[in-house]
């Protein structure tokens, strides 16, 4: 293992985060606060409780997941797309680093950033609503797994994209709708049964459900299933990355 290379890539990416601290940390915090104002205060005054917890409290795990998902994808896809775009990728390709090391560096940095972000959002949320985490270790496990999985997914998008539109397309057209419909703001049990079945096809439901369980021990699906789905998605992403590097897809011509 070329640990120094992993470290170099990781620190390089983290340095980019600190440089763009304002947009990477502040804007999600502001938008989360807005969600609280709109959903928590406005809707929360109508829906007082969901499955035994106040509505404002209920939406916290979903909000955190929403940000972690979108930010993981955005960070990781941009992180690898940008060197391709400006050409500095030549140095990574010519360096004595394995693909695994490249992935650990880029995905590790993107995941770190969104984990930090998730924790900041939780802290922000705690200012608005009482927050109690029943299973902190499980909470962290789900947080880390989700951040890593979607950073990998973002990395794949970043490699696949050959223009800025494509970079935005999948997050906009697929991920955001899936997250909003994934039970961030409601319990799947609140839906009519037909919709419930459709909703269960959405992978994000399982992530949010498991994550919410670690907070309040309430879940739409069983925790084991949540964990299994998360790991399954992680495995798919890893397999895709492995294939990309084996073939040099869109990296070497």
């Amino acid at each position: 293992m070329n640990y120094r290379a992993i470290r170099a890539i990781y620190l390089f990416e983290m340095a980019r985060t600190w440089r763009t601290l304002l947009q990477s940390i502040v804007s999600p915090v502001v938008s989360t606060s807005l969600y609280f104002v709109v959903f928590g205060a406005a809707i929360g005054s109508r829906i007082t409780e969901v499955e035994g917890v106040s509505y404002g409290t209920f939406i916290v795990p979903g909000l955190v997941m929403l940000s972690v998902l979108t930010q993981s994808i955005a960070n990781a896809s941009f992180g690898i797309y940008f060197p391709k775009f400006v050409g500095t990728i030549y140095e990574i390709l010519s360096a004595p680093v394995s693909y695994i090391e490249i992935v650990i560096g880029y995905v590790g940095a993107a995941a770190t950033k969104s984990i930090i972000l998730g924790l900041i959002i939780m802290a922000t949320a705690a200012l608005f609503v009482p927050l109690h985490i029943h299973h902190p270790w499980w909470m962290l496990t789900f947080l880390v797994l989700t951040a890593v999985t979607f950073s990998l997914f973002g990395f794949i998008i970043g490699i696949w994209a050959d223009g800025f539109e494509k970079l935005q397309m999948i997050p906009m057209l697929i991920v955001t709708p899936l997250t909003f419909l994934g039970g961030s703001f409601y319990s799947v049990n609140m839906l009519p049964s037909g919709w419930r079945t459709v909703t269960l096809l959405n992978p994000v439901v399982y992530l949010i459900s498991g994550f919410r369980w670690s907070f309040y021990e309430i879940a739409d699906v069983s925790v084991a299933l949540s964990l299994g789905m998360t790991l399954g998605f992680l495995a798919i992403c890893m397999a895709l990355v492995w294939w990309i590097f084996r073939t040099g897809y869109r990296l070497k011509n």
Partner: protein
């Protein structure tokens, strides 16, 4: 003494791009340890493609490449650790400082931190006073030197310079060549591409000419200089003649198309050029001379005639 194995050995290398375009066709090339090798060729000849393959940026289609005895695919880690690459295009991270980007390269190549080495590299390349500047604030020539500094940051044994002097002013170019010579003195093998024949002549130990994806000549500079030693003397005549007189046969003269001049090839490095006796014999043959001019065939001529050949 055993001949040293070549540090780079390219065998039967071909490259077909995804578009179906064959950019390299059965290249065979050995680079000797410690030499400065200049790769010369017109635009689109395949110089960058060849370098990209050796450095791991592009995949090869056929053949194989060994660097320092390591196969570039099977043993890429060992092969690539030996190489520093300065690509043709300026690719830099705009918002990093010079110091950060050069240190990053060293880490990427798995070398432990060594600020003293990086300081030396930056000083050698006259970048020391820019070390804390963001790259975006540098001029094009400075950016090129930053890229050279990145390549040297990890102390490579082989340095590829793909058109290193494009956009670098004359004085800095001299400075750059001093750095290159210094590297060679410390045992680094250098492969450079250039369009400037003078540059190849001045710097290289050996010169390779590539055209349309094929190597068409590889020769020691000494050998090329020998060819360069050839000059031609054009003797302009007062009248015109229809044929070279038999008494002048030994000179292998060539008669100009209009019959107003004869052309004589001679070797400036030879013991005697034969010019004096030619002039004597011309007078003896009753031919009167109006003017003389001499011309040296340059590497440029050799180059042009090579790449123009069908």
């Amino acid at each position: 003494m055993l001949a040293m194995p070549p540090i780079i050995s390219v065998s039967n290398l071909s490259k077909t791009y995804g578009s179906g375009f064959k950019a390299l066709n059965n290249i065979n090339l050995d680079i000797k340890r410690g030499e400065i090798f200049a790769l010369l060729g017109p635009n689109g000849a395949g110089k960058t493609t060849l370098i990209s393959i050796i450095c791991g940026i592009a995949n090869l289609s056929e053949g194989n490449v060994m660097v320092g005895g390591h196969d570039i695919n099977r043993d890429y880690r060992a092969a690539r650790s030996l190489i520093g690459l300065v690509p043709q295009e300026l690719h830099t991270d705009s918002f990093e400082t010079v110091w950060a980007t050069v240190s990053f390269s060293r880490g990427l190549f798995g070398k432990p931190k060594n600020p003293a080495h990086i300081e030396k590299v930056l000083k050698d390349l006259s970048l020391w006073d820019k070390k804390d500047s963001k790259i975006i604030t540098l001029s094009g020539g400075m950016k090129r030197r930053v890229m050279i500094a990145k390549a040297l940051s990890h102390e490579p044994q082989i340095l590829f310079l793909d058109e290193p002097t494009a956009g670098v002013d004359v004085e800095l170019r001299k400075g750059m060549w001093d750095v290159v010579r210094g590297l060679q003195a410390s045992g680094v093998t250098i492969i450079l591409t250039t369009h400037y024949i003078q540059e190849a002549e001045e710097m290289a130990d050996r010169i390779g000419v590539i055209n349309k994806g094929e190597i068409i000549l590889v020769e020691d500079k000494a050998g090329l200089m020998h060819k360069l030693g050839k000059k031609e003397l054009k003797v302009h005549l007062q009248g015109r003649i229809d044929a070279i007189p038999a008494s002048l046969a030994a000179y292998n003269l060539e008669l100009s198309d209009d019959g107003h001049a004869v052309i004589y090839d001679y070797d400036t490095k030879g013991d005697r050029t034969g010019i004096t006796s030619l002039l004597n014999d011309l007078r003896n043959a009753g031919i009167r001379i109006s003017d003389l001019d001499t011309r040296q065939s340059s590497l440029e001529d050799i180059f042009v005639s090579l790449v123009r050949a069908p």
